[in-house]
Amino acid sequence: MKAKIYVTLKQSVLDPQGKTVQRALEQMNYKNVDSVRIGRFLEVELNCDDEAKAAAQIEEMSKKLFVNPNIEQFRYELEK
């Protein structure tokens, strides 16, 4: 099973990279960009066919290692 995990800074945390990209877009004349947030993307292949087990494992890995809960949030998708 493959997990796709998306890690982003929490909304309350300023994202300096996102801001810089947003300013670049404004300079490129895209006038309707309200916000850009940049994050991290992980693909984890698990040797596991049980979706509930895989989900529990990905949640645990995310909380322990992939994400710093002080500044980041995450979501994930599972694919067979």
Partner: protein, 235 residues
């Protein structure tokens, strides 16, 4: 006394810490055995203090300090810290202390996205700790920073707790000790450059006292922190 300088793959201030701590101990008439402790060590014996030096442990992969906190030595450092024994984390060491939960909050990319390597002024927020006892009240120290990810963040509740309990160790300030947004190099909340744990036995700081530990380095203000710690351990 025994001081352990923890070496992770990618640490690069370990030698600076080793030489400054051992030289300053000698100059102050203190007998100190200062040595390296490899990160894979899980039973290194007892130390009076651990130093987590600066650098780029594990290439800063994932997040600064995120992987280093799972090194075997960190279990030992955590057990040592929980007994109330001193730990100082400098730069990457501070990041590792936050990642491991020994200090609150987190360090992330600098506000302006630049790697900043320059001397800054720090206001010593309190001088009644084992790390700052040789500083005068609110003394301004000239110590360099060198980091890309030193932007200290803590949520409102954590920040209030740090302020209410006087756990901020150092703030970025002007040469006169004024804490202003203009002298905040990296966007850290409340200009925070370093913090203590509740018991003030753990110090995490982004600036490098070991790089300002002799006059030839442009400043010797960092000595005050290192010698404070050494003298307090020797007591």
């Amino acid at each position: 006394m025994k001081i352990g300088i923890v070496v992770f793959p990618g640490s690069n201030c370990d030698y600076d810490c080793l030489t400054s701590f051992s030289r300053l101990a000698k100059e102050n008439g203190l007998t100190a055995e200062v040595g390296y402790v490899w990160h894979k060590e899980s039973n290194p014996g007892t130390f009076d203090a651990y130093v987590l030096p600066g650098g780029f442990s594990y290439g800063d992969y994932l997040r600064c300090g995120a992987i280093a906190r799972f090194s075997p030595i960190m279990e030992e450092v955590t057990a040592h810290a929980k007994k109330g024994r001193p730990v100082i984390g400098i730069c990457n060491g501070f990041q590792i202390l936050c990642e491991s939960g020994l200090l609150p909050g987190a360090l992330y990319m600098n506000r302006d996205l630049n790697f900043i390597c320059e001397h800054v002024y720090l206001r010593t927020e309190r001088n009644d700790t084992i790390f700052t006892s040789l500083c005068k009240s609110k003394e301004v120290l000239n110590i360099p920073i060198a980091h890309g990810e030193g932007n200290y963040y803590a949520d409102d509740e954590t920040l209030k707790k740090l302020e209410d309990e006087d756990l901020v160790a150092f703030r970025y300030c002007t040469g006169d000790g004024l804490v202003t947004p203009e002298v905040n190099p990296n966007g850290s909340r409340n200009n925070i450059a370093g913090i203590f744990n509740k018991e003030r036995t753990i110090l995490g700081m982004m600036p490098h006292p070991e790089r300002a530990a002799e006059p030839g380095l442009g400043s010797s203000d960092g000595q005050k922190i290192i010698v404070s710690l050494l003298k307090n351990i020797a007591k």
